[in-house]
Homo-oligomer: 346 residues x 3
């Protein structure tokens, strides 16, 4: 399908700069632009590419001021990133979603599947499971006894949902994610350990996305809770009895230890780690690879391991990198002082 | 099912404080206690909640001295955490385990399945595999040629066991874990790499638990060995030819490089990493996110990356956080010394 | 099958030292050598074991000079590690590969499977998928619409390949790896986030190996690209729109953020992390657990988090460990200086 710059600008409430009849039929990255593709410029790091791109149309922010001639037709919009997201969503919706229950899906007699769901080949839906309308369960998902999935949710292939776990509406769970495995609880007994049964579950509220091969453990008692709008990237670990507040975002490979409570609107950088039983306030930013070992107040920005105030960490780290010089300076000071003392006693 | 405080105290050899006829039918976390639920107080961080909890019964340690009135009936026991574990286990055993071989399980003619096993839908059990009695192989597990699983073991959905690997008795392997993928071995050959075939296997002894989406690689030659009683959390990586000693515990996202030997009774914190070919003595504690690059003596406690003695690390880190101050102090010292020297020459 | 030292030396262009009729029928690690096994000594850390090993034959480097008597027959070769790799490959090839299409494999009518492929039980191959000759798709793999796999490639059990992704020739993808899940892209919208559809794909070129439970995300627009010869270990995260250059090697649990471009011939240590939108030159070495937050020049070696020049980091870290001493020294300097100043004013 083809669209003109005029049509796209109308859709986005944007302004065309150049030929409004320019036509595009695909998307491209700005550095890989080609005749007939539409791209965007949002991150200023990529500005250099706009002067050479072959893309026919470029979405730019209203205030973009080119420092050299641009051959492409521009569409100015208030927020180029949000606008490309809208176009991608529009394009994505044109793709038909799979529908119907595969004959090889293994659906227990007491399971209930809502209207217009897709259940792919070999998916296993155990006794007592309920799935809301318009959800998609891709091939090889396993949803164990008594678990539930809301409506409009998507479970990509090979997702496992353990017994009794609850997944809300409009959630997306990527391939290989495991929801509801046992929390890691053991009581020392002499030199070995006794397993502490994990009889709770996981509750995932609406509009949550969970990445590929991520793991969210069931609670020992009660629920591990992922609140509305949380976005969890690939390979993240959420331990038992954790609670993650609304709209918190966690980058890949983050690890959250048991019984941690994270507020809403937080941002956790990749590979960050949180020690058990701590509380993170709302709107906290935790840097990539940070190691948080204590409570963090609302609105804080922390870095490092153990994590401290970000500004302090960066200052200390800058000096860390000059430690060899500092060490030499101290040695010189010592020698000079010794000399002064020697003179004094003469 | 309901139980009275008297019955529970009898089971646990505990002492009731309050009404022995108080009845409960469920477990709750102390901060989510409700009428009819039993909870426990073990970690003193949670003491505040006992004064408000709605839970009908609270298990507490013998020496618990309330600082305010408690409405719940108490049961005093030597170790509240161990006691709740016993009760949970008791409750867990009431849940019937799945039994029988699903008709869609794909079991090769030369595979042997012990008595009273469960093999779920679509599980694949290849030629020459043996599975002991009373084991449970959940849906979508793949156990490749000649591998074996002992008796009383549980493999949750989507576990892959590569050819020739050996899993002992009473093991639990959580969903998505991969046992026996190739070790990461390549020989440089000009600018590219040649794969070094990994012809060894993985041997997992009895009573081992392995978390969701964890990976234990097969040896190049010989075996990667996980000894009795080891507990491995989610998303942990164990490279080829590693040996993990009895009853060692590894928190989530830990990574162990090739040919490392870890002693027994060790505790590895989450996201810690161990460099290749090193030896960790018995009863070593490695802090979360630590990076261990050399051998560690028995009984040591290490932190940091590169990891050093924990006490030393915490002292150095405390000063790290004051580096900007220290830097200013050194500058001041330099200036003062310069002044003294100037005066001297006058 | 048995081989003599003479036969093996002939195969490897090596020289026998000892009885050329010594026979072996298996491989062993040097510390687990037994009568009839062949082992090798390459890493000097293991030299101690050669004097006690029961192995019948040991491959050693040409320049190996024993410091005590060795009972085993030696075969001297230019590179013992490369030679054992050749023997392992030779032995590995003796094992017959599985062939044929399992009747329970779910292959869509428009999918095309090349000659001599193996497709295991319950594998799902969707509409429009093409698979080249001699490839092996193990049980429970899911290859979604329009994806393609070249010839001679192996997908171990439970691999998911999302729609439209491209995998080259002679690739190996280990169990549980997920190729082409959505990149982690969200646009803030008030307090919540709107998903940015990820309409690109993943392109994996030839001779790439990807470890168990690794995740490579699809691009938002265009492709996430893994170039020829790249080796990626278990549990690695590759975000959307990343490009990894030829023959780059990444150890386990490494995480690469979105839009990073990594050169060819790089080596990334385990658990290292790279921030988004940065460029890593060719032949860069990134230490284990390093956190890279800026561009890195060709040929650099970096360590630490934030990562800096390796030599600088190790020097600073050595001093970090002496910070308590240094702190005391500074205190002493201050006191002495105070004293000198006091004397001066008297």
């Amino acid at each position: 399908m083809e669209f003109t710059a005029r049509q796209i600008a109308a859709l986005l409430d944007g302004a065309v700069e150049g030929n409004p009849e320019t036509r595009v039929n695909s998307f491209s990255k700005i550095e890989e632009g080609r005749q007939g593709s539409l791209t965007f410029l949002s991150n200023p790091k990529y500005e250099q590419f706009i002067y050479d791109t072959e893309a026919s149309i470029v979405l730019v922010n209203d205030d973009f001021a080119p420092s050299a001639p641009v051959r492409s037709t521009l569409i100015r919009v208030p927020n180029a990133y949000a606008s490309i997201a809208r176009l991608l969503e529009y394009a994505g919706r044109l793709k038909p979603a799979p529908k119907g229950i595969a004959p090889t899906a293994h659906i227990a007699p007491t399971a209930s599947i809502g209207a217009d769901c897709y259940v792919g080949p070999y998916a296993c839906i155990a006794e007592g499971v309920t799935i809301g309308a318009n959800s998609r369960i891709y091939p090889h998902c396993v949803i164990d006894e008594g678990a539930s999935v809301g409506s409009g949710s998507i479970l990509y292939p090979q997702v496992t949902v353990y017994a009794g776990c609850v997944i809300g509406d409009n959630c997306i769970i990527h391939a290989g994610a495991v929801i509801g495995a046992d929390g890691f609880g053991f009581a020392p007994e002499g030199e070995s350990y006794t397993k502490i049964p994990q009889l709770g579950n996981v509750v995932i509220e609406d509009n949550v996305e969970i990445g590929a091969n991520a793991a969210v453990d069931r609670a020992m008692i009660g629920s591990t809770v992922i609140r509305k709008g949380v976005k969890i990237d690939n390979l993240v670990q959420i331990a038992h009895n954790v609670e993650v507040g609304c709209n918190t975002v966690m980058a890949a490979q983050t690890g959250v230890s048991g019984s941690v409570k994270i507020g809403s609107g937080c941002r956790l950088g990749g590979q960050s780690g949180l020690a058990g039983h701590i509380r993170i306030g709302d709107n906290v930013s935790i840097g990539a690879q940070a190691g948080v070992i204590g409570n963090i107040d609302e609105g804080s920005i922390v870095l490092g391991a153990p994590a401290v105030n970000a500004r302090g960490f960066m200052r200390s780290y800058a000096i860390f990198n000059r430690l060899p010089d500092i060490y030499r300076t101290i040695g010189a000071l010592q020698r000079e002082l010794e000399e002064l003392k020697k003179e004094r006693t003469q």
